[in-house]
């Protein structure tokens, strides 16, 4: 069964094309990561799923219901943690959760839910005094009311410390194991990578790629960068390096040779340079990371990852996967 199905969804705000024909299918029971830099259109896509905004073209189906004409049925079966929301300042956490239960017409274990998100101590305090992270936890508790078939979480870890983010990932896994589909967006790759089965990368209102996380990781692993500082260098050495299996490109400039190759080809390529008379002074190798792929997919011009492996992903926020860097001297 399909949980979410977007078909050519376009959305214009005046002259701004927020979504430019988004096609996306999320299967039931999977944790689906919706990645993209801020402003890519992630929240607009979610707004379409919840009928907060109406698409200019295309259609959206959620849990088998039309997201626009049958939105109430969609929302009956969906738990939502929206982005850019605010709590009701004068109501307590308990009242918030009880309101959700009443709205959905379900019984809710209010205490248990607040305990699950770590808000037990603040349960009877007005939510106006909550920190951003506490408000986020409260909204998550509200989303969990009634064991929804689908959870839509828009930037669920924003405002949370690493520990809180880990707790949320745990809850996401528990919900998936219960049988729920989880669709969650983030501009931070590390949040998605750790928990998702599949991800879509959205950029400038278009889906750039949809793939399994492990497939993306394999793809990232196949891209390594070897940077060699040499003293003497011959065309023969470069040619020999190019001959090595797994090497995709070799360039030389000012006594620095840059080799792009698969992970296993690094050492053979280095040896090939040395065997053909290049005097190797120093070398640096870098494995490309998922982060690099993310940057690659979301960079405006489709540029390849920058060579220090820590390039900003459009907003410079939170990178959890450090570049896999080895340095050596001969």
């Amino acid at each position: 069964m399909v949980a979410i199905e977007l078909d050519g969804v376009e959305k214009r705000f005046g002259t701004v094309r927020a979504l430019r024909g988004v096609d996306l299918t999320v299967e039931e029971g999977e944790i689906f990561g919706f990645l993209g830099p801020n402003g890519a259109g992630k929240s607009t896509t979610i707004d379409v799923l919840l009928d907060f905004v109406r698409p200019t073209a295309g259609s959206a189906r959620v849990l088998g219901h039309d997201a626009q004409t049958e939105s109430k049925r969609v929302r009956q079966r969906t738990g939502v943690l929206p982005e850019g929301f605010d709590v009701y300042d004068r109501l307590t956490a308990r009242q918030h959760v009880a309101f959700v239960a009443e709205s959905k017409g379900v019984e809710a274990d209010v205490v248990g839910l607040l305990d699950r998100v770590g808000l037990t101590d603040a349960a009877d305090r007005p939510a106006g005094g909550y920190s951003k992270g506490m408000a986020q936890r409260l909204a998550l508790a509200m989303a969990l009311v009634g064991d929804p078939d689908l959870l839509i979480l828009d930037e669920p870890t924003s405002g949370l410390d690493p520990n809180g983010a880990r707790e949320i990932r745990e809850i996401i896994r528990e919900e998936r194991d219960r049988g729920a589909t989880v669709f969650f967006s983030s501009h931070i790759l590390g949040q998605v990578e750790a928990v998702c089965d599949r991800v879509a990368i959205l950029e400038a209102g278009e889906i750039r790629t949809v793939d399994r996380v492990d497939a993306l990781r394999d793809k990232a692993d196949s891209e390594a960068q070897l940077t060699v500082t040499v003293e003497a260098l011959s065309e023969g050495a470069l040619a020999a390096a190019r001959e090595v299996a797994g090497v995709s490109s070799v360039t030389a400039e000012d006594g620095t040779v840059s080799v792009t190759c698969s992970g296993e080809a690094k050492l053979p390529a280095l040896n090939a340079l040395a065997d053909e008379g290049a005097t190797v002074r120093d070398f640096v190798t870098e494995e490309a990371t998922l982060e690099d792929l993310f940057v690659e997919f979301t960079a405006e011009d489709g540029a390849t990852p920058t060579d220090d492996g820590t390039a900003a992903s459009g907003d410079g926020a939170g990178h959890s996967s450090a570049p896999d860097r080895e340095e050596g001297r001969i």
Binding site: F52, V53, R54, P82, E83, D86, R90
Partner: protein, 283 residues
């Protein structure tokens, strides 16, 4: 039917607002002060007959009606203008509408919830006034007073509907507030002199002679919420005053029940118009 949940949430939320308690307190103070003042100014006779008791109650109602005429609109507009625009501005509407509420449930729940808030202030204020009335001059005819309270609540509902209507057409609370202020000015200062302006143009004088008021003149006055609220007092004071003003019988469209119909229109139409815009809005 999820509007009940919205109304309950909204009432619980709004009733905790300090501003509203201040306004509600002002309501009680003014109602109590008015009824005490009425007792001091009014008849000092200690013993009253049944009919005199009724007349006292009518006088109290007429006396309370004046401050209610401007305090009720202020309270209702203040309670209502942020109902939807405020939630859109803060973002709490995303929590609200991620739940299975249709937008019409939200609209209806908001109008009902906020009306209950205003109605509580009215009930508190007028209830205190009634107690004072009963104690100080044995005014009887509580049913008459109850009718007055019901009319006042209907009057307040009309203003809540207008305020929530404005709140639904805009995403900005300050624009909704501007609409509320404009509405107050229109119905409290402008509307009542419109017939005078028309009469000036038609007849050369702004005010018709006593006993010769054209029925259209009074009818136009009665079309605003304030005018309609004023029209309901015919139930209490009888038609004689108006008959004298018109110099003839009172047509049905100037009767107290027709005034209630006009109030009903003011309750339904503004929030309906606001709903139509809200229904089609991107949040």
């Amino acid at each position: 039917m999820t509007w009940v949940a919205v109304a309950r949430k909204d009432f619980t939320d709004a009733v905790r607002s300090r501003t509203l308690w201040a306004v509600g307190g002002l309501f009680v103070v003014l109602a109590v002060a008015s009824s005490i003042m009425f007792a001091v100014l009014g008849s000092s006779s200690g013993t009253v007959s049944q009919s005199a008791g009724r007349q006292t109650m009518v006088n109290l109602i007429l006396f309370l009606r004046a401050p209610a005429g401007w305090l009720v609109p202020i309270t209702a507009l203040l309670v209502g203008y942020k109902a939807i625009a405020g939630e859109r501005e803060s973002g709490s509407i995303k929590l609200l509408l991620s739940l299975p509420h249709e937008r019409r449930d939200v609209m209806l729940g908001k109008v009902v919830g906020r009306t209950l808030v205003v109605a509580s202030a009215i009930a508190g204020g007028f209830g205190a006034a009634l107690v004072i009335g009963l104690v100080m001059y044995q005014g009887v005819a509580p049913l008459l007073f109850l009718a007055f309270v019901v009319f006042t609540v209907a009057f307040s509902t009309a203003y809540v509907s207008i305020a929530v209507g404005f709140s639904a057409v805009t995403a900005s609370a300050s624009r909704a507030a501007a609409g509320a202020v404009g509405t107050f000015a229109l119905f409290n200062f402008v509307w009542s002199v419109l017939p005078n302006a028309a009469h000036l143009l038609l007849e050369g004088s702004p005010v018709p002679d006593a006993g010769q008021f054209p029925t259209w003149f009074v009818f136009v006055q009665r079309l605003s919420p304030n005018g309609a609220y004023e029209g309901t007092i015919l139930l209490f004071q009888g038609a004689t005053t108006l008959e004298a003003k018109l110099g003839g019988p009172v047509p049905f469209y100037l009767s107290w029940w027709f005034a209630l119909v006009v109030l009903g229109i003011w309750i339904v139409v503004p929030s309906w118009l606001g709903y139509l815009r809200f229904r089609d809005a991107d949040l």
